[in-house]
């Protein structure tokens, strides 16, 4: 952990949160922090502070300022959003979002009615309140995620790609909760799948939901999914009476295929998208 590495990390963070802002504002912030980092390291070294302490101080300043950085970005991003849409368009978009959210809520309620009705006629279906709550959160969350991301898309490929990725994530979570993917139900090895989903979510945020970046994020998710299967096999989980080698490979392969398919669709959507307007954003 050298001060220079920490400074590079801070610089990356600054480049990340200034993306898409007007060039002058973004460049000023990037250069100002760069100068600050240089002065900070030089000053501490001149005082004889050890490198580890300097590195910690640099990263500490970044972490403590994250909230202010986000607030600063929102403050400067608002005028851009206001320029790109008229009040009428913004109102229409808000109404569409509320309608979509209402649709998702109704859809979720309808799906949850099915086990509720089934419970009245058969003893095979036994759901308690917690089951309904978890299922409701999962279904509504997945539906809303799809609606919020896909509504930004201008083409069908992007929408389908989002749909496949969200459906795969939902299915994975459902399997984990209901029966367990690897080993017996409740086996801690399944917690690795939270890491798989985290790769996808963090990748999507970093890519800011742009098709090419989303393709890379989904490929990384597929790789992470494959890695879980490899780790499970190395850990000997195939010796469990419930999970054979075939089951572990087939189940994880199925999700790898879904995430890879979604990545290919995102790449296809990226090719269909017209090039972005030049000069409005900072290009690096």
């Amino acid at each position: 952990m050298t001060p220079e590495r920490m400074a590079e990390l801070v610089a990356r963070w600054v480049r990340f949160y200034t993306r898409g802002l007007p060039t002058a504002i973004a460049r000023r912030r990037v250069e100002e922090i760069s100068s600050d980092l240089h002065d900070h390291i030089a000053h501490e070294r001149a005082r004889g502070t050890c490198d580890r302490r300097i590195a910690f101080s640099v990263i500490s300043r970044m972490v403590r300022g994250l909230a202010a950085d986000s607030a600063w970005r929102s403050q400067h991003a608002k005028p851009i959003a206001a320029q790109t849409s008229t009040p009428g368009q913004a109102l229409k978009a808000r109404k569409t979002t509320y309608r979509s959210a209402l649709g998702v809520a109704l859809g979720t309620a309808f799906i949850l009615l099915l086990p509720l009705v089934a419970m009245q006629f058969t003893d095979e279906v036994v759901w308690d309140l917690a089951d309904f709550a978890v299922a409701g959160v999962l279904l509504f969350g997945a539906g809303l995620t799809y609606v919020l991301i896909a509504r930004k898309a201008g083409n069908v490929a992007y929408r389908v790609a989002v749909g496949v990725a969200v459906a795969a994530a939902l299915l994975l979570l459902w399997l984990m909760g209901a029966v367990g993917v690897i080993g017996e139900e409740g086996d801690h090895v399944d917690f690795m799948y939270f890491g798989v989903l985290a790769v996808g979510i963090i990748g999507a945020v970093i890519a800011r939901f742009r098709p090419d970046g989303m393709a890379r994020a989904l490929l990384a998710t597929a790789l992470a999914q494959g890695l879980v299967a490899v780790i499970a096999l190395i850990a000997g989980k195939h010796q469990s009476p419930i999970s054979s080698v075939f089951e572990i490979v087939a189940l994880n392969g199925f999700f790898v295929a879904l995430f890879t398919g979604s990545a290919r669709l995102f790449r296809h959507a990226g090719r269909q998208q017209p090039p972005r307007a030049q000069g409005r954003t900072v290009r690096r």
Binding site: E32, D36, H38, D39, H43, S57, R64, G65, A68
Partner: protein
């Protein structure tokens, strides 16, 4: 969800035209520097001076410091310009800040207020500059 976050986090809202404690502290330090013959200062230099003045162990965070400097510039209490490339001597050029006349006045008011009252309110900035 964003509009519900303030309820959850309970972020204190600033009254229009008032200064936050950090902004007041920046003005105090800037005035001290001005009185010691240093009219301009840069971000890290300011953070360092603030650390020494408050006898704190840590430097002000990047995000917090530069956001506050930006606000003070918006209020018309500070001005800034880039350092000459020649003066930078190979290192990244610094953004140099300077107290405006109004900034110096507000800082002086703050300092005198400190002497008068143990508990004081942040000074109000002249409306229209915010």
């Amino acid at each position: 969800m964003g509009r519900y976050l303030p309820i959850v986090v309970a972020v204190p809202r600033r009254k229009p035209g008032t200064l936050l404690p950090l902004e007041t502290e920046i003005l105090d330090v800037a005035l001290s520097l001005l009185r010691s013959g240093q009219a301009t200062f840069h971000g890290f230099g300011l953070a360092q001076a603030m650390r020494e003045q408050s006898a704190s162990r840590s430097l002000t965070a990047h995000g917090t410091l530069y956001k506050a400097l930006g606000r003070l510039e918006e209020f018309g209490l500070l001005t800034s310009r880039w350092e000459d490339t020649a003066a930078a001597e190979g290192r990244p050029r610094r953004r140099l800040y300077e107290l405006t006349r109004q900034g110096a006045h507000v800082a002086e008011q703050t300092l005198s207020g400190k002497g008068d009252k143990a508990i004081r309110r942040s000074p109000r900035v002249v409306s229209g500059t915010a």
